[in-house]
C-alpha cells in the first residue's frame, strides 16, 4: 500500500510526460513562469522542450523502477523511509534542472541535485568510506557548481536576461563577445565536474559507496548526466567554435579511454560499471564536441540507450549481490541458472552495451562511428579513439553482463538463489526497452530523439534511425570492434592486471589539496584571528583606508583645489593647539598625560565648532570629551605602570599606519569640502523648520522630527551597545565584588 502510494508519484509524472511526447514532438514548448525576484529579472520558470522531455522521461521512469527495486533491496532497512525521501527529493531536483526555463532556476536545482546526491551517497553514514565518498562528490561537484554560477552570471550579463529562451537565441552575440572564452571555461568546469570528466573523474567510482539502487539511478539517468545535459542545453549558445570543439573532444576522448581501461582493471561488478559510466560520459562529451548534426543525433540516442542498459546492469549487479552474496567477478560465474530473469536482463543489457544487433546499442554505435568518420577535424584520430573505447566497452560489457551468469559455477562456496519479482522486474524492463527500440528505431527517433536533437542543434535536424544500413565501412568497423572486444575479454581472463589505483591518478591531487586545506585555514586564522586587538584594528582600518583610497583616486576626476590659508589669528591658534595636543599624545610616556593631551585635541575641535557657528555640536563635543576623559582615567588607573613594551620597529609600523589613515581621511575631507554644497537641501530644512517642525533650532528639529527614524535607530544602537558593555564588564566585576 505504502509502496503503491510511493510509486504513484514518479509513475504519474512519467505518465504525464508520456502524454506530452506528442505535442513536444510537433515542436511545441510548454512554459510556466512564477515571479521570484522580479526586481532582478529572475523568475522561477520552467519549459518543457524536446531535450528536457527526453531527460524527464528517463528521470521519472527509471526513478519509478529504482523505487520499486529499493523496496525489496532495502527490505527491513531501518532507514528505508529516509531513502525514499532522498530519492524523491533527488528526482524533484533533477526534474527542476532539466525543465528550468531560467538560468538561476537551473542553477538552484543543479545545486540541489548535488546536495541530494550527497545525502544518497552517504546513506550508510556509519561507514567512514560512505561519508568520505559523499564528501568528495559534494566538494568536487560543488566547486564546479561555483564555476557554473560565475559563468551563468557572466552569460546573463552579456545577454541582459536570464531567460533561457532569450539566451538560446543569442548564440551569435555570446560567441562574438570578449567574455566568450571565460564563460565557456567556467560552464565547462561545472559540466565536467558533474559528469566526472577527466581530470575530475575520480569522484564517480568513489560514489559506489551508495546503495546499489542509488548507483543505478545516479549513473543511468540522473546526476552524472546533468553535465551532459548542460553541454547539450547550451550547445546552441556556446557550441560551434574551435575552443568548444577542442575542449570537448580532447577531454571527452581522454575520459572515454581512461574509463574504459580502468573498467577492465576492476573485479567488483559495481566498480566495473562505474568506470564504464565514466567512459560513456566521455563518449557523450566527445560527440557533443564534434557538433555535427550526425554527432548530436548519436549523442542523444546514446544518452537514452546508455540510461536503459546502465540502469539495467546496475540493478542486476545488485540482484547478483543479493542472490549470491558477492559482486566479485573472480568468484562469479554460472549463477544464471538460479536467477534466469536477472540473467536475461543482464545479458540483454550487456549486448546493448556491446552494440550487438538487433539492440538499440547497435544503432547508437553505428551512428557513433558514422559521426566520428565525418568529424570536422582529424576524423582518423577521432575514429581510432572511438574504436579503442568501443572495443574496451565490449569487453567490459561481457565482464558485467555475461561472466557472472553463464558458464559453470566457479565458486562452489556461493549458493545463488532466485530473487523476488521486485528485484528482477526493474532491470528487465529497461533491458527489454532496449530491444524494443532496436526493432522500432524510426518511431523512437521521430518521437524522442529528433525533438531533443533539434534543441541541441538549435534548429530542426532530420533524424533517421534504422537498424540496417547495408554493408558499409561502419558495419565493418562494428564487426571488427566486436571481435577485438571479444579478444580483449579472453585476454583479460588470462593476464593478471594491477587493480589498485596508481599514484599518478588525479585523485591523489584531490587528497593533496584536501590535506593542505587545514594548513591554509590555520595560516589565515593566524593572520586574521590572532586575538590581538592591535592587529584587528590595523586590518580593519587598513582595509577601510585602502578601499577609500582606491575609490578616491580612481573615481574622482575633478581636481581638488588647495584651500587658501586665509584663517584669522585665533583660528590658526586653535589649529596649533590641536596639533600640539595630538603630537603630545604620541610622544609622552605617561598615560595620564596622553589622555589629557587627547582631551586638548577634543576641546580644540569643539572650539572650532563654536568659531564656525555650531553651538549644538560644540556643546555635545565638550560633554563627550569630558565624559570620555573620565572613562579613560577610570580604565587607565587600573592598568599596571606604564612601560614601553613595543619595539622601535613596531612603533615605526604603527606610525606608518596612523599616517596613512590620517592622510586618507584628510584627503577625503578635503575632497568633500572642495565639492560645491547642494544648497537646496539645507535651505529647505531652514525654511521648513519653524512652520513644519515648530522649532527654530534646525539641528534639533531634524533630529527629532524630520529624520526621527534615523535617531530612533541610533539610540537603539546605543542601548544595545550599553547592554554589550554591561555584559562584558559585569561578570568580571561581580566575581570579585560584593557577592
Amino acid at each position: 500500500m505504502l509502496l503503491a502510494l510511493l510509486l504513484a508519484i514518479p509513475l504519474s509524472l512519467f505518465g504525464w510526460f508520456v502524454l506530452q511526447i506528442g505535442p513536444v514532438a510537433s515542436g511545441q514548448t510548454l512554459q510556466a513562469s512564477f515571479a521570484w525576484l522580479p526586481s532582478l529579472g529572475i523568475a522561477l520558470s520552467f519549459r518543457l522542450d524536446g531535450l528536457g522531455l527526453l531527460f524527464a522521461l528517463l528521470i521519472s521512469g527509471i526513478g519509478a523502477l529504482v523505487l520499486l527495486y529499493a523496496s525489496s533491496y532495502l527490505h527491513g532497512h531501518p532507514h528505508w523511509g529516509r531513502f525514499n525521501g532522498f530519492i524523491l527529493a533527488f528526482m524533484a531536483a533533477m526534474l527542476g534542472t532539466v525543465l528550468a526555463g531560467d538560468l538561476f532556476t537551473l542553477f538552484i536545482f543543479w545545486e540541489l541535485t548535488g546536495l541530494c546526491s550527497f545525502l544518497l551517497i552517504g546513506f550508510d553514514y556509519q561507514q567512514e568510506e560512505s561519508r568520505r565518498a559523499a564528501f568528495q562528490a559534494l566538494l568536487v561537484t560543488g566547486a564546479g557548481g561555483l564555476a557554473l554560477l560565475a559563468g551563468i552570471i557572466l552569460l546573463s550579463q552579456i545577454v541582459g536576461s536570464s531567460d533561457l529562451t532569450i539566451i538560446l537565441d543569442s548564440g551569435g552575440l555570446v560567441r562574438s563577445h570578449n567574455l566568450y572564452l571565460p564563460i565557456l571555461l567556467l560552464m565547462l568546469a561545472g559540466a565536467f565536474t558533474k559528469s566526472a570528466q577527466f581530470p575530475f573523474h575520480f569522484w564517480l567510482p568513489g560514489a559506489m559507496a551508495a546503495p546499489t539502487p542509488v548507483s543505478a539511478y545516479l549513473h543511468s539517468a540522473t546526476m552524472v548526466k546533468l553535465g551532459i545535459f548542460l553541454l547539450a542545453r547550451f550547445s546552441p549558445v556556446l557550441g560551434g567554435t574551435d575552443s568548444w570543439f577542442v575542449c570537448l573532444t580532447c577531454i571527452g576522448g581522454i575520459t572515454l579511454l581512461l574509463g574504459a581501461v580502468k573498467a577492465l582493471l576492476r573485479t567488483d561488478l559495481k566498480q566495473i560499471l562505474a568506470w564504464t559510466t565514466v567512459s560513456a560520459l566521455g563518449m557523450l562529451t566527445l560527440l557533443l564536441g564534434l557538433g555535427t548534426p550526425l554527432a548530436m543525433t548519436a549523442a542523444m540516442l546514446l544518452l537514452a540507450v546508455h540510461a536503459l542498459y546502465k540502469s539495467s546492469l546496475f540493478l542486476t549487479a545488485g540482484a547478483v549481490d543479493h542472490g549470491s552474496g558477492t559482486r566479485d567477478i573472480t568468484r562469479l560465474g554460472g549463477i544464471g541458472r538460479s536467477m534466469p530473469q536477472v540473467a536475461l536482463a543482464g545479458g540483454l543489457a550487456a549486448l546493448s552495451m556491446a552494440g550487438m544487433l538487433p539492440l538499440a546499442g547497435f544503432i547508437a554505435k553505428e551512428l557513433f562511428y558514422e559521426a566520428s568518420l565525418h568529424a570536422p577535424s582529424s576524423p582518423w584520430l577521432v575514429t581510432a579513439v572511438v574504436f579503442l573505447g568501443n572495443s574496451l566497452t565490449v569487453a567490459a560489457a561481457l565482464l558485467a553482463g555475461y561472466l557472472p551468469f553463464y558458464g559453470t559455477l566457479k565458486d562452489t562456496g556461493l549458493h545463488p538463489h532466485q530473487v523476488d519479482l521486485r528485484l528482477w522486474l526493474p532491470p528487465l524492463i529497461p533491458a527489454m526497452l532496449g530491444l524494443l527500440i532496436g526493432f522500432f528505431p524510426a518511431v523512437f527517433g521521430s518521437l524522442l530523439v529528433a525533438p531533443a536533437v533539434a534543441r541541441v542543434a538549435g534548429r530542426p535536424v532530420p533524424v533517421e534511425l534504422a537498424l540496417w544500413h547495408g554493408f558499409n565501412p561502419v558495419l565493418l568497423l562494428s564487426i571488427i570492434t566486436l571481435g577485438t572486444g571479444l579478444a580483449l575479454f579472453r585476454l583479460h581472463r588470462k593476464i593478471k592486471l594491477p587493480t589498485q589505483p596508481t599514484k599518478w591518478d588525479t585523485e591523489q591531487l584531490y587528497h593533496l589539496l584536501l590535506a593542505g586545506l587545514p594548513g591554509f585555514a590555520g595560516m589565515i586564522t593566524r593572520y586574521l584571528q590572532n586575538g590581538r586587538l592591535r592587529y584587528y584594528l590595523m586590518t580593519v582600518t587598513g582595509t577601510a583606508v585602502a578601499l577609500m583610497a582606491v575609490t578616491l583616486f580612481t573615481s574622482s576626476t575633478d581636481s581638488m583645489d588647495l584651500p587658501k590659508p586665509d584663517g584669522s589669528l585665533h583660528e590658526w591658534l586653535t589649529a596649533l593647539i590641536i596639533l600640539s595636543g595630538a603630537l603630545m599624545a604620541t610622544m609622552t610616556d605617561s598615560r595620564l598625560a596622553a589622555v589629557a593631551a587627547l582631551g586638548v585635541v577634543g576641546y580644540g575641535v569643539a572650539l572650532i565648532y563654536i568659531l564656525f557657528g555650531a553651538p549644538d555640536l560644540a556643546m555635545t563635543q565638550f560633554c563627550i570629551e569630558t565624559l570620555s576623559i573620565i572613562l579613560f582615567v577610570l580604565v587607565l588607573h587600573k592598568l599596571p605602570r606604564f612601560a614601553l613594551l613595543s619595539s622601535t620597529g613596531s612603533r615605526l609600523r604603527d606610525m606608518v599606519v596612523a599616517l596613512g589613515i590620517g592622510s586618507i581621511m584628510t584627503l577625503l575631507v578635503w575632497h568633500a569640502v572642495s565639492q560645491p554644497l547642494i544648497p537646496s537641501l539645507s535651505a529647505w530644512f531652514m525654511q521648513q523648520s519653524l512652520p513644519a517642525g515648530h522649532g527654530r533650532n534646525v539641528v534639533n528639529v531634524i533630529l527629532v522630527d524630520f529624520r526621527a527614524l534615523d535617531t530612533l535607530g541610533e539610540i537603539t544602537v546605543l542601548a544595545v551597545a550599553a547592554l554589550g558593555v554591561y555584559a562584558m564588564l559585569k561578570p568580571r566585576s561581580s566575581k570579585g565584588g560584593t557577592d
Binding site: 553651538p615 555635545t620 560633554c623 528639529v701 526621527a708 546605543l718 554591561y726
Partner: protein
C-alpha cells in the same frame, strides 16, 4: 581618590547641573541644546558626584538603575512614534498641542521623543561609568 573641594562643590553643583540639563532639553527645540547633550550633562553631573563620593553613593543618589533608564528612554522614544498611529497617521509623525504650555511653549511628540533620547543617553553613560568604577 577623595577631594574635599570636589566633594563639597558637587553637592551644590549636582542640582544645578540637573536643572541645567532639563533647561537644555526643553529649550533644545528652538535654541542650542536638546536631548542628547542634556543627557550627557546628567551623566557628567553624576559622574563627578561618583568620583567624589564613590560608586555606591552615586547609585544611591541616582535612585534608578542606569539600565532601567536606558530601557525607559527607548520605550518613551518608541511610544512617541507610536502615538500618531492611534490618530491614523504614519509612524513618527509629529503631533503638536494647539495651546502653548506655560514653560515649554508648544508641547508635542518631538519633545517626548527628545525626552527618550535624554534618558537613554544619560542611562547609557552612567551604566558604563558605574560599572567601571565598581571595583574601587
Amino acid at each position: 581618590m577623595h577631594s574635599l573641594i570636589l566633594a563639597t562643590a558637587i553637592r551644590l553643583l549636582l542640582p544645578l547641573m540637573l536643572l541645567f540639563s532639563l533647561f537644555l532639553l526643553l529649550r533644545g527645540h528652538n535654541e542650542p541644546g536638546g536631548g542628547f547633550v542634556g543627557g550627557l550633562v546628567v551623566a557628567a553631573a553624576f559622574a563627578l558626584y561618583t568620583l567624589a563620593h564613590g560608586e555606591k553613593e552615586g547609585r544611591r543618589m541616582l535612585r534608578i538603575a542606569p539600565l532601567q533608564l536606558v530601557a525607559t528612554g527607548l520605550l518613551i522614544a518608541l511610544a512617541s512614534g507610536l502615538l500618531p498611529l492611534l490618530a491614523g497617521l504614519p509612524f513618527l509623525t509629529a503631533l503638536w498641542s494647539s495651546v502653548p504650555a506655560p514653560v515649554i511653549g508648544h508641547a508635542g511628540t518631538p519633545l517626548l521623543f527628545d525626552l527618550g533620547v535624554y534618558l537613554l543617553v544619560a542611562g547609557m553613560s552612567l551604566l558604563i561609568i558605574f560599572t567601571l568604577m565598581e571595583e574601587n
